[in-house]
Structures are given as structure tokens and as C-alpha cells.
Symmetry: C2
Subunit: 367 residues, 2 copies
């Protein structure tokens, strides 16, 4: 009757993180410095999301760095170097030179790489980041078994592999994704098989549909070393998000019926160029329903752009604006401070699952 | 830090079942009496699947009844009445009068109702079965939040609600399903909200993509009172399945890439009439790939029917026969005795999760 065993490498690399390892996802723009810092202060790992342009990484990291210097009432004492927050990049649209310069200057503890045009781009980014910031851990997000095999046989291995299930909000695999229930343990097995005494085992983190302690506990049972939450943190006080959008995250339920993957909202917002493998999940509203009913795109675009001027009324069932969110929206019923989210999830995991951290010399420490 | 709490009602109704409550799904034809009896003997609950015609329920129950009388070396002593196995029906195609007669004669402990033309049919079946066999518990399988609401507000409530995630093999929701990771906890919350002191809480069982102790543990964390495995038991020694089919379950991996939901195999087999809400997941092979490439149905049908005469070579990547299976196929690597499957899953769950069974008077017993 073995408990869930966690590797000893993570606690030494992220010493302020309290087990279980809880991460806030690098959601584009919405995961700003305030959210990331709050999550890390609560004993998790907060990621800053990609910005509207890569250059924003610099200002975001600068702001996070300042926030981290401010006195805090929370318990975890955070190291000053590497910076105890991570930062994410959208490889197909972000500029490597600009990203590398920001990473070199601020030395975040982790860089999260996602959505390359080609897997080879992940190699290029990994090697360049390791040159400028050897202590910055490389987190790579994938969503299929094929990608896992590609990554595991590549020259530059990531330090963490994030496996994203089909339940995830925002951009994920368009058509070849799968729920974490089967995808995660299969990936965990493949990664375990690929490990060697010399190289060790790459930790697998789970993302997609995890919104509370139940999902986090389930992910650990399925083989994750840690859990990533995105949509749950959209309903955090510190999220960089409009109230109308945030209200809709709290209001909506039944993610199977009320969310879908569609490129419509990207196109309404004028976003083109995502690699074909990806499509975002979001909460459907008038734009989508009228699109389904056959209303021409130009008309939908006009109405969408009008809604941009309506403030918070632009979102909601009768709204028209993009509301990227995961299928777990039905589990999110309240806006909370990010630190409280981390603490509540952690506490629920402690009650539900038996976790042991493997220590040096084969000894084990009970969680 | 609350552990996972399980209701006390199930242990009293199924006294031979050892916690956690592990169930073999009523897979059409393939879940025969031998499989069902082995699972119950191992301290789980085995279901006989629907037959080619409803009348087969009678012979299947008769055979199970005989098998249960045979001496056994396994530990659990099974009651003789009600019969410690369940039986499933496919409501759109099965005949209620015939089913009720079989249930009346053999008094199985549970009847599993699935795939009605209309939800009202579930009521009709439930009331009739309760008339002829008041001790037969009614298990109802659903796959959407909308169905859960319909069931919870209906006149005749089920005794158990089985929620099937999109990862499931065989017939499930065609287009509006979702992975258990988000679907299950949301259903658990809805059922908990609908419970009252007088009525209690309907136990929720999880099905779909659970193939080992990791998935079973995850399902319990997500709010299930018990877990149902289907595909895992296709690779049980006792499954009523061709070797070619079973070999393919063991061989195939990467369920996201190698399985899909399609009506093609139903149609090749001459099966029509499933309600539009349902479509089966299965492992793709030449029939599907050539269908995708545009080969006419008549030609695919001719080749399929030829493959019917090829024995075990009819299945596999170069085969053409239907291979209904869930997305968890990558987790199944060996044919095992059903009892061993139950025991291994149980043991792994014991190690991973903290379960408490609520007892009379508010006391609790540790698993």
C-alpha cells in the first residue's frame, strides 16, 4: 500500500514552497506580478503570464521584484535570488532575445515555455535561457503523449513537464487533447520509464480543470508532483482582470455545456497566428451562439467591438467579449485572495491524500 | 483537513463489498456472469451487461446464480439473496417486461439503467423494477449536469447515480461529455445540495477512464463514493471477449490519439437506433482511417464483414472490427484475473487516500 511519493529535488529548488506544490498558471496578461507574488508568498509558486508584447516581461518582473521587497505579514520568507516567481512565454509570438534579456536581468526561478511553432523552438529557448540564467528552471507545457515523447528524446530536457488536460481554459490542444484522468497517469508512466539513475525523473505537473483541493488531490493520486491552477486564480483578488470577466467566472457553471473550444473569440479580438494545434476554451455567450446560428462574422465583429465600450456589461451570458476559462468554472463560486486559495487547497490535500517526500539516503518524511 | 467521507448506507446494502467500492461495468455481452461473479467474490460488485436480446438476462442471471453456489477459495462470503451481482440494461433497446421478469426471478442486488430514449423511461423502469424486486437497488448512469438535474427532480429517485466522464469507452455522450476531473466534483456538489435529512444523499459513482488504483483514488478525491471500471475488465481473464479484441486492449496506448467517438463501427456491425445523444469510444483501426480518407461505406462494410471471418486477426491496427474501449487503454498492459484487478486497485487506494466511513451516531471508522 504505497503512499504518493514525491521527489526530493523540488523542495531544494523551491525552498519556500510548502507541499503540495501549488502553482498559479502564467495566464496571458491576467497573471500579473501581484497575483504571482501573492501565490509565492503563500508557499506556492506564482507565474507571471505572457504580456501583450514580450517587452512587458521586463516591467512585470521589475514590479514583482519590488513587491517582493515589500514587508509582508505572510509566513513564508522568500529568497531574493533567484526571484521566487516564474514567468511564462508564448513561443510562437514572443521574442526570444527580449525574453532572455528580461530573464537575465531579473533571474526568475522558472521560465514556462508554451505553444511553439515547432518543438525545436523549445530547444532554442531552453538553451538560450540556460546560458543567461543557469538557475532559472525550464518548465515546458504539453498536452499530448506525442509531445511528451518528443520532449523526452530532445537534446535539451526541461526541468519540469506540465501536462495540460482537455479541461483547461484558454489555449490548449484544439482536437487531440484528453482529460487528465487518463492522460496524466499515462504521461507519469512514460516519464518514469524514461528516467535513469544519472538523469533522475523529470517532475510532472498537472494543469487543466483543477480548481480546488479535490482536483489537486486527484492530480497527485494520478501521478503529478504538483498542480497548476489557472481559472481558479482568475477569481483571485489579485488577478489583472475586469470585474465583468471575473463575475462571469464566478457565475458560470456546468463547464461541459457552457464552455467550448473555438477560435471565434481570438478572431473577434483580432488575434491570428496561433499554431493550428491550439484552440482556446472559454465560456460561450452571444457572440458564439449567434455565430452558431449563422450570423456573419463582420456583424459579430461590429457587435463585439461595441461591447468593448460597455465596460463590465460586455461579459456574461448576454455579453459578447472573450471569456477564456476552463471546464472547472462550476467549482469556482467566490472571489478570494490568492493566498487563501493556496492555503485552502493545500489544507484539503493534506486531509485527503497520503504523501511522502523521498529524502536523501532513502529515508522518507511524512508530509 | 477533512478526509474523504463515505456514507454508511452502502456498506449495509452490499455487506460483502470491501471499501473502496469497486464495480465492474455492465458492458454489453462482454460483462458475462463469470466476470460479474469474480468481481463480487473479490469484494467488489460485478455487473452483468445487456445481452444481444433482453431475454439473455434470464440465462445470464441463471448462470451467475449457479456460479455463486459453487464453492470458492476467495475470502468474501456472499449472501444468496439478494443475488450479490448486478445487471445492466440498455433502455432504448431492452424490453422492460422481459427485464422485470428476469429481475423478479433472480433478485439481483442492483439494476443499472442506461441510455433511455427519454429520461421518463428511467422512471418507468425504476417503478416497475421496484414493484417486482423492492430490494434491487436502482443504479442510473448519466453523463451531463443537465441529466443530473433531471434525475434529481424526478419522481422516482435512483439509489445510486453513476456519472460517466468523457474518457469512457463504449457508448457515452456523443458531444456534450466532459472529463471526470471537472464533471465529477461538480456533480458531487449538486447531489450534496439536493440532499435532505429525510432523503439523505444519493451516492455518486464515477465511471470513465479509471483503470488502476491511481484513477480510483483520484475519483474518490473528486467526490465519488465508489468507482466503476469497464475497459480494465475487458482485459480480465473472465471477460466474454475474443482474444484478438483483448490483445488490442493490452497493446494499444495513448488513448487520446488512438481512440475516438464514432458511429462508424456501430453502422458496420449493423447497429442502428442509438439515441442521438450517444456515440461510442473505441480504438481506431483500418475501418476508421479509410473512412476518414473517404472510402465509401459499402466498401468498408464489405471489408469489415470479411474481417469477421478472420478470427483474432480481425482486430488490431490493421484490423477492421469494432474495438470499443476507453481512453485509459494506455494504463492496461496485462490480462489479469478479475479478482486480482479488484485487489490491486483496492490496495493502491488504501495507500494513497484517507477514507473515513461515517457510522451511526456520527462516529467514524477509519478504513
Amino acid at each position: 500500500m504505497p503512499p504518493i511519493r514525491l521527489s526530493k529535488s523540488l523542495p531544494s529548488l523551491y525552498p519556500w514552497v510548502t507541499s503540495p506544490f501549488i502553482v498559479s498558471a502564467p495566464m496571458r496578461i491576467m497573471s500579473g506580478p501581484a497575483l504571482a507574488v501573492s501565490v509565492s508568498r503563500a508557499g506556492g509558486l506564482g507565474f507571471i503570464g505572457p504580456g501583450a508584447k514580450t517587452q512587458d516581461a521586463l516591467t512585470n518582473l521589475q514590479e514583482a521584484s519590488s513587491l517582493l521587497k515589500a514587508p509582508s505579514t505572510t509566513l513564508s520568507s522568500l529568497p531574493s535570488t533567484p526571484l521566487p516567481i516564474g514567468i511564462g512565454f508564448q513561443l510562437w509570438s514572443d521574442d526570444l532575445a527580449t525574453a532572455a534579456a528580461a530573464i537575465q536581468q531579473y533571474q526568475p526561478c522558472a521560465a514556462w515555455l508554451f505553444a511553439p511553432h515547432h518543438t525545436a523552438d523549445i530547444q532554442t529557448w531552453t538553451l538560450r535561457i540556460r546560458e543567461v540564467a543557469p538557475n532559472t528552471q525550464i518548465w515546458v507545457q504539453v498536452g499530448t503523449i506525442a509531445e511528451v515523447h518528443e520532449i523526452l528524446t530532445s537534446a535539451a530536457q526541461p526541468d519540469v513537464l506540465v501536462i495540460q488536460g482537455a479541461e483547461a481554459g484558454g489555449h490548449g490542444r484544439a482536437t487531440d487533447g484528453m482529460g487528465l484522468m487518463t492522460l496524466l497517469p499515462e504521461v507519469a508512466d512514460i516519464v518514469a520509464m524514461a528516467s535513469s539513475p544519472g538523469r533522475g525523473k523529470i517532475p510532472v505537473f498537472a494543469a487543466g480543470g483543477i480548481a480546488d483541493g479535490r482536483g489537486a488531490s486527484a492530480a497527485l493520486c494520478l501521478g503529478a508532483e504538483g498542480v497548476v491552477m489557472g481559472t481558479r486564480f482568475l477569481a483571485a483578488t489579485e488577478a489583472r482582470i475586469s470585474a465583468g470577466y471575473q463575475n462571469e467566472i464566478v457565475r458560470a457553471g456546468d463547464g461541459a455545456a457552457s464552455t467550448t473550444r473555438t477560435l471565434l473569440y481570438n478572431h473577434l479580438r483580432g488575434t491570428f497566428g496561433w499554431p493550428a494545434a491550439y484552440s482556446p476554451r472559454g465560456i460561450t455567450n452571444l457572440s458564439f451562439h449567434e455565430h452558431q446560428a449563422g450570423k456573419p462574422f463582420e456583424e459579430l465583429k461590429r457587435l463585439h467591438d461595441e461591447a468593448l465600450g460597455m465596460g463590465d456589461a460586455g461579459w456574461g451570458p448576454q455579453g459578447r467579449l472573450a471569456t477564456y476559462a476552463g471546464a472547472g468554472i462550476g467549482l469556482i463560486r467566490e472571489v478570494k485572495e490568492a493566498g487563501r486559495i493556496v492555503e485552502e487547497v493545500r489544507r484539503e490535500v493534506w486531509g485527503k491524500v497520503n504523501v511522502k517526500v523521498e529524502e536523501e539516503g532513502g529515508r522518507e518524511a511524512r508530509l
